[in-house]
Structures are given as structure tokens and as C-alpha cells.
Symmetry: C2
Subunit: 179 residues, 2 copies
């Protein structure tokens, strides 16, 4: 039972950035999903650590980013240290970009950005570490996403799905099914 989570642990891994005042942070999260189409909403479960929770609660916003396979090492690095002691953006020399609708920065090279305003749900946040965001701006790299569909051909641009112990899956090829 303590490994049951692994059975569903290969949704896309995301990076979550947040900022409040002079503070900013980025963390890795393996547990996220879409919550609704309209309004566009997403949810993410944040690891038990106070720093990002605080920044997100205080600022009421975050950015969900989809890293590529080329960024897998960065994802591990970001997940292995706490932002309360170090500015990870500087420590790992991340190329950042300003977001359009939130203060938290974007990390250049990601396949997609979802800028989000936090929907205040204290019970979900406190009980489950579950944060719900309403998407205020969305962008995807046109090399891999256009006309509403992913079309990832380049190996280094595959989305990644964390398993455990430094092991990821890359997303595979697409296939069409007729009913």
C-alpha cells in the first residue's frame, strides 16, 4: 500500500513557480491535473514544505510549467533543495522570463506555461496540500503544440513523467483510435 501512489505516478511532471515581494521560488511537482475546461482550472499537490505554500497563499498566484526532457536534471535539482535557503533561479542559472498576468517568473525552455490565480480553498490547502488555480494566461511552444494538439517529435522536447529514484518516463508517440 505504501507504493500504491506509484501506480498513477506518471502524469506529467511540472514546475511550479511563485513569488511574493522580493521572495520567489520554484518547486517540482509530480501530482497535478486539469480540473475544468471553462473556466480553465488546474490543481496541484505541493510537497510538504512551508516556503512555497506561504508564497502562494500570500500572493494568491502561481505558474505551472511543463518542463521538457532536456530539463529533467533541473527538475531533480529543483526538487532536491528548499527555496527558503537559496534562490534556486540563481543557483541553477535558470533563464527566466516575465509572466503576463502574475508576478512569479517563467522558466525559458519549458513546453508550456499556465499562469494561475489561486482559488482560495483553505480546507483543501490545509488538509490535502491541494492548490487550485484558475488559468489567467496559457502558452505552449508552437514547435510541439499547435491547433489544440501536442505533436512532439524531437526527443529532447518530450514531456516527462517522474517515477522515483531519478527515473522518468518520456511521453511516447501518439496514436489515433477510431471508435
Amino acid at each position: 500500500m505504501e507504493k500504491a501512489y506509484l501506480l498513477l505516478n506518471h502524469g506529467p511532471t511540472v514546475l511550479i513557480s511563485c513569488a511574493y515581494g522580493d521572495e520567489r521560488n520554484v518547486i517540482a511537482a509530480g501530482w497535478c491535473t486539469v480540473l475544468d475546461y471553462t473556466p480553465a482550472r488546474v490543481l496541484v499537490i505541493l510537497d510538504k514544505q512551508g516556503y512555497s505554500h506561504q508564497l502562494i497563499k500570500k500572493s494568491g498566484e502561481f505558474v505551472m510549467m511543463l518542463p521538457s526532457k532536456a530539463m529533467a536534471k533541473l527538475v531533480l535539482q529543483v526538487g532536491a533543495c528548499t527555496g527558503s535557503a537559496v534562490d534556486k533561479f540563481a543557483a541553477f542559472d535558470m533563464p527566466i522570463l516575465p509572466a503576463k498576468t502574475v508576478v512569479a517568473p517563467l522558466i525559458n525552455g519549458c513546453l508550456a506555461f499556465l499562469e494561475c490565480k489561486l482559488i482560495d480553498e483553505p480546507h483543501n490547502q490545509d488538509t490535502y496540500d491541494l492548490y487550485i488555480g484558475e488559468v489567467t494566461c496559457a502558452w505552449a511552444d508552437p514547435r510541439v503544440f499547435s491547433n489544440g494538439r501536442w505533436h512532439i517529435k524531437d526527443e529532447s522536447l518530450r514531456s516527462i513523467h517522474y517515477q522515483a529514484g531519478g527515473q522518468f518516463f518520456a511521453i511516447g508517440d501518439s496514436f489515433q483510435v477510431e471508435e
Copy 2:
């Protein structure tokens, strides 16, 4: 913005079965994730349709199943009709197995089963169609999962990740990253 959900729409697609009294149903869901390790908890967003919601609320349980690529057509079929009018298990000739801890049936051939007791969260259920389950029994096919890791080699046994319009991604190959 109305396509923002597609940016994260490739977590694993699951089948959700439920039963209450003589009624039973199975639906497809693309939006699910893990919620916690211990106790093992998962969450799933269910499409707006009353039948499965009712069965899950009345029975307080459901099964989350991970279909293989070989089952992709079945996933589409299950998602394209409502169980209030037809017994999908019979209509699509699904080989079912009894679960160990819940009444809802398992569909033979899936890569993993997560039997779940519903955690009663009326606000999440009513506002977001978000259902949280505590895992009471978990099983994965040892051909593709053992010692706490997925190792999917056979093309037909890859997990599948729904995009839209009958198009899926299969999960790709795993890779190891050293920090």
C-alpha cells in the same frame, strides 16, 4: 484559454468503475492524480453526468483502473455512452473480476487496479466534480510493474494518455537522471 486544459491533458487515462445494489457502471477519466502517499489517496475529476456520481456517492466506493494501449478503443467506447441506459460491461463484453475490498468490478486486462473508499467531501464533489478516494487495495500487473517500478516494454501494455479527438499518447521509454 478554452484549450488550456490540453496543456496538461496527458496524465494517464483511467477507467473508473462503481456499483450500488444491482446497478454498476464504468466511465473513462483523463483527469486524475495521486493525492498522498500515506494513507494512499487518489483523486479523479468525473465528467458531468449524474449516473456514476450517484453510484459512487451512494456506495462510498469506486475502482480506478489503468487501461493498456490494447484497451484504447474500449476506453473511447466507454466514454462515448452513458451507463444509465446500458450496462457497459455487458454491451462491450468486458471480462470482469471481483474486487477484494469493494463491490465495483475490476476489468481484466488493466495494468493496475486501485480499489478506493470515497472520502466524503461534498464541497469538492459538488463544486468541482472532484472525488477523493483512500486506496484500500492496490494491484499492478507484474509483467509491467515490480519492485516499486514500472518497466513497460511491450507496446500493447503501455499506459495511455488521452489527448482529444480519439488521439492518445502511449507512455514512452524510461530514462535515468543523475543529479
